[in-house]
């Protein structure tokens, strides 16, 4: 039963049994893992708040043979992002980040860039950057890092270079195809298309290029913001295979 040691971020934590928790982590060295933390809900638990969602900790786990559920043996807090526990909009933004990582990353497939992007996303929210925009930028970045980069320079259906197709051909985004779709493909396919203006397209391409550390320098409002929010929400639903809990979970009720 080997011991795994790694920095980790808690994505989800749910009650299990009498006083235990099953926790989903995104770890730096081993990717997404699940572990059971015995006695984590007891008042004098050694884990304290280290296993709460959105907390970064140094984690020790015992790997169980032939079982994807590990045993959490120790968790020491590294970074807590306290603002995420005190504001509903920040909490909802962090929840969407955690839900997207949970939904689209495979188990036990380490990707340090995803870990760093998640830490940076929580840090941006904690520092008071606008939650809806920060969450949107995180989603665009994560899609790029996980192999679901929205296709913006080629037709997502036939692969033709969109630059050669002329004006008016570059603005139809198909969530099902995974990006912009050229005119002939629009006529051929029965997808639902969302329109992306040149400004939205430039913003999307810029967001995909930038590193997580400087991502929050990008600003968007009005049309660009609403077009991209719709397009990314639709694409995320397709990629995740289900509708994720909404970012504005209070407004949706």
């Amino acid at each position: 039963m080997p011991l795994l040691k790694t920095p980790a971020i808690t994505l989800k934590s749910r009650k299990w049994g009498e006083a235990d928790r099953i926790v989903t982590f995104y770890t730096l060295r081993f990717g997404k893992l699940r572990g059971v933390a015995r006695g984590a809900r007891r008042i004098k638990s050694r884990f304290g708040s280290a296993l709460e969602p959105f907390v970064q900790c140094d984690l020790n786990l015992f790997e169980k043979p032939n079982d994807t559920l590990h045993r959490v043996s120790q968790a020491d807090i590294k970074e807590t992002f306290p603002a995420l526990r005190e504001d509903l909009a920040l909490m909802a933004g962090a929840a969407r980040m955690a839900n997207l990582v949970t939904a689209i990353t495979p188990d036990a497939d380490p990707a340090p860039k995803i870990f760093d992007t998640l830490v940076q996303g929580f840090r941006s929210l904690n520092e008071g950057h606008e939650p809806a925009l920060t969450t949107l930028l995180f989603q665009i970045k994560l899609l790029g890092l996980t192999g679901f980069r929205p296709q913006t320079d080629h037709c997502a259906a036939c692969g033709k270079d969109t630059q050669t197709l002329g004006a008016g051909s570059t603005g139809r985004f198909s969530a099902l195809a995974g990006g912009l779709v050229c005119d002939p493909c629009v006529h051929r396919r029965s997808d639902r298309y969302l329109f992306l203006s040149p400004g939205s397209l430039a913003f999307l391409q810029q967001a995909l290029r930038m590193t997580p550390e400087v991502l929050n320098r990008l600003k968007a409002s009005g049309q660009v913001r609403s077009e991209l929010e719709l397009a990314i929400e639709a694409y995320v639903t397709c990629v995740a295979g289900k509708r994720l809990p909404p970012v504005d979970f209070l407004a949706s009720c």
Partner: protein
């Protein structure tokens, strides 16, 4: 042991496995225990389950478990009706009641908000709390939701909901459990306990 999936015993095991915290092995052990016990004892268990489902409901006022229209606390005239303590589940209510530290009324939400699971205000008994405040007579609402992400989200939302009624809203204290060494407390608990310190 291979077991006939259609048999009576297999049916009992299937039902027991549906209970929280009961796996296949435990369900089998329980089923064999029930099989070996006296008929009268086994039927007493079945009867108790039947009686709970038939005789218990949720209190019209506070949503605690009740045997009639109102629960034992809402019916008690000696309790302080100017204070309402809000809890997530009836089990928390009984834990607080066992402590003997609160003599007011309760409100049970029967859930919590959860941004991670998309559970919103319409999924918990928040509006019923607002209706009680609208009726008047309440001076303080004490929020005793768990200090988890879900509990915090619920407390923040309820504070927003309650404030317009002009009622005092308070949150139970965070901090070091009694009998624990401070050196073993985690950072979040320590910060919260320092923020929530009180004058002596």
């Amino acid at each position: 042991m291979a077991m006939d999936q259609q048999g009576l015993l297999a049916r009992l095991i299937r039902e027991l496995v549906r209970l929280p915290g009961i796996g296949q092995k435990t369900a089998q052990r329980l089923a064999f225990h029930i099989l070996k016990t006296e008929q009268e004892e086994a039927l007493r268990l079945a009867d108790a389950i039947h009686a709970v489902k038939d005789g218990l409901t949720f209190c019209r006022q506070c949503r605690n478990i009740a045997e009639g229209d109102l629960c034992e606390f809402c019916l008690d005239p000696k309790r302080d009706s100017t204070k309402i303590l809000v809890v997530e589940e009836p089990s928390t209510l009984y834990a607080i009641e066992r402590s003997g530290g609160f003599r007011g009324l309760y409100h049970v939400l029967l859930g919590t908000l959860s941004p991670l699971d998309g559970v919103g205000p319409s999924d918990i008994r928040a509006q019923e709390l607002a209706d009680r405040l609208k009726a008047g007579g309440v001076q303080e609402v004490i929020l005793a939701t768990n200090p988890t992400i879900e509990g915090e989200a619920t407390a923040i939302y309820l504070t927003r909901l309650i404030k317009p009624f002009g009622v005092k809203v308070s949150r139970i204290a965070y901090g070091i459990p009694v009998g624990m060494d401070i050196e073993y407390a985690d950072e979040v608990t320590l910060i919260k306990s320092l923020e929530g310190r009180r004058d002596l």
